[in-house]
């Protein structure tokens, strides 16, 4: 009887993990959208006043990632030390890269928050309440902008 119970419980656990995994896979299909078009949609929805375009070297410096490892990388970063607005769009060559990117993006946000904590109230608020780290299949977006909801909506509809 015990053996049956143990067997049932282990398969229940395995089944729950499998269902959860399936739901994650179904939620994030791969996109064949052109990365330039996605970037245009994202930047079109954001207010770029407090941002400037970033180079590959800047992506490497701010996120510690190598843009050549990805299919495409785009960056708008703060225009000055007193700004916190930022947009990073990456098209992955392999969806598994999403993990390292999410880690790098969270670390970048943490660094920025530490910079503005107790110093720049508006910037800290922006980084706390208007920052989105959004992996979506083979795309990845980091958006720190007042209208982050609109940027996210534009991002998803462009995929």
């Amino acid at each position: 009887m015990k053996t049956v119970f143990f067997g049932a419980m282990r398969w229940l656990a395995a089944g729950l993990v499998a269902v959860f995994l399936w739901s994650l896979c179904a939620a994030a299909p791969l996109s064949s959208a052109d990365p330039d078009a996605v970037w245009q949609a994202v930047t079109g929805a954001a207010d770029l006043t407090h941002m400037q375009e970033g180079s590959n070297a800047m992506i490497r410096r701010l996120y510690g990632i190598d843009p050549s490892d990805y299919e495409a990388c785009y960056l708008y970063y703060p225009a000055s030390n007193m700004d916190a607005d930022e947009l990073l769009l990456v098209k992955l060559t392999d969806p598994a890269q999403s993990e390292a990117l999410a880690q790098a993006a969270q670390a970048r946000l943490a660094t920025q928050k530490a910079s503005f904590d107790g110093y720049g109230v508006a910037q800290y608020d922006l980084l706390t309440h208007h920052a989105a780290v959004e992996p979506a299949g083979n795309y990845f977006l980091l958006a720190v902008t007042a209208n982050d909801a609109a940027v996210l909506a534009a991002f998803h509809s462009a995929l």
Partner: protein, 468 residues
């Protein structure tokens, strides 16, 4: 969350230590489990489902295996072990290898686009090997099945070792799970070890990473000198990155009263490639030896079988690091070197002076890293050819400039790979007395301050082995 992030050092760790040491002794392991779960959730709450599900699955698998064994149901026991291992490999394979395998198949077959693979749970390669270790130890009768779900959860989720090991076999950890060896000496030595690891990562690995990135930048003018500088930078960076992480994990473990196995023993001083693999990522080597090589028959079933067993182990070792042909070739490269040493060069090597063997081994190992860090085989091939002057100028302005700026760091890194700094530290602490204590405290305070400055100045650089 990475150990070298300010949020970990200044927020998570102090809160965790405070909570842990304020908790009554009996409840400390449970408190540590709670903090480990928080650590996982901090990175991605969804990972709790995968890791928690895996713990529950293996908890009942272990109990079922033991129960079937006691009841003499060998067929059932075998079936439970096989299905559990298969489920583990399926999950690991889906996260790590599915996209790669699908791409290989899609190249020859008319297949639809692969489904999107979600971000892999934190430390998936490491916790999968931990749970496999548990099941296989129970199945072999080396340990009893764990009756306490939370103790098994602590073994799997213990946050110092979760992300990048060391892969502690269940057999090694079982006795410690409910009874951590708490002492002031452990807290002191563990803290020192943590700071040493942090310094290896922040001061050395991250700095060398800057040189490596500059040397391998597609815009950089390639040269033989540049290639060798890149190879040296990467070799030292990888060592300080991963051994730094291991030091931090072992140090943290010790602070909490848990002994984690060593992962490195001055690998770049090895006298042969065989020796290198007894000193580099020791816990992974031990895992493959105990759970793959020996069960396959090891070296006791004749030469052909030994070669076959080694081939399986090195193919798996290569693939464990990632789904890419470069890792497969890297594994096979080491297999070839080990077979040469075992069957061809054993006698000549025994007669070769130790220093010559050491240099020869070091060069062979760092050339192997070329497959490790290049994204494709052609890129690795071009780099290896370039290292020996094929279609490449001897020097370039950029490589000369990097030599001048990186030379001192590479020299420091080379010394850091030897036991010299540790010997120096021990010489100071062994003297005892107030001055020795003050000197030790001052050195570690300075190291920590330098690390904090480095962490604030540097942008984020994740641990290299966290991606495997």
């Amino acid at each position: 969350m990475s150990f070298s992030q300010l949020s970990f050092v200044f927020l998570f760790l102090p809160v965790c230590l405070l909570g842990y040491f304020l908790t009554p002794k009996q409840a400390k392991p449970f408190a540590l489990l709670i903090f480990s779960l928080l650590f996982i959730a901090w990175g991605n709450p969804r990972d709790l489902v995968f890791i928690g599900g895996s713990v529950v699955f293996h908890y009942f698998s272990g109990l079922q295996v033991e129960h079937a064994d006691r009841a003499g149901k060998k067929g059932l026991k075998k079936a439970v072990v096989i299905t559990t291992v298969a489920a583990d490999l399926l999950l690991l394979g889906f996260f790590k290898y599915y996209t790669f395998l699908w791409a290989q198949l899609a190249a020859v077959l008319p297949l639809p686009a692969a489904v999107s693979v979600p971000v892999a749970p934190v430390g998936v390669s490491f916790f999968t090997f931990s749970v496999l270790s548990y099941l296989l130890d129970v199945s072999a009768g080396r340990v009893k099945a764990q009756r306490s779900l939370w103790k098994l959860a602590l073994y799997v989720c213990f946050f110092p070792k979760l992300v990048s090991g060391p892969i502690a076999a269940y057999e090694q950890m079982e006795a410690q799970l409910a009874a951590p060896a708490l002492s002031r000496a452990n807290v002191e030595s563990g803290s020192r070890r943590f700071v040493v690891g942090l310094a290896k990562k922040v001061l050395l690995a991250n700095t060398l990473n800057g040189f490596f990135a500059a040397l391998t930048d597609p815009a950089a003018q390639p040269s033989v000198l540049g290639v060798w500088l890149a190879v040296f930078s990467y070799a030292f960076m990888l060592y300080f990155d991963f051994s730094g992480y291991s030091d931090m994990a072992i140090g943290l473990g010790r602070v909490f009263g848990y002994h984690l196995p060593e992962n490195f023993r001055y690998p770049y001083l090895s006298g042969s490639v065989t020796d290198f693999w007894r000193r580099w990522h020791i816990s992974l080597g031990a895992w493959f030896k105990n759970y793959v090589y020996i069960p396959l028959g090891g070296s006791r079933a004749g030469t052909a079988r030994t070669v076959c067993n080694l081939a399986v182990v090195w193919l798996l070792t290569g693939l464990w690091h990632g789904a890419n042909w470069t890792f497969v070739v890297w594994g096979l490269y080491h297999l070839a070197l080990l077979l040469c040493e075992k069957f061809i060069l054993r006698k000549p090597l025994a007669k070769t002076p130790g220093f010559v063997r050491g240099v020869f081994t070091f060069v062979l190992v760092i050339l192997g890293w070329v497959f490790f860090f290049n994204p494709t085989l052609p890129a690795a091939g071009r780099m290896l050819a370039g290292a020996f002057g094929y279609h490449m100028p001897a020097v370039s302005n950029g490589s000369l400039y990097t030599l001048l700026s990186a030379g001192a760091w590479l020299a420091v890194a080379a010394v850091g790979c030897t036991p010299l700094p540790a010997k120096l530290g021990r010489a100071v602490t062994r003297r005892g007395g107030v001055w020795s204590g003050l000197a030790t405290a001052a050195v570690f305070a300075l190291l920590l301050a330098a690390c904090i400055a480095g962490m604030m100045n540097d942008t984020f650089a994740s641990f290299l082995y966290a991606q495997f």
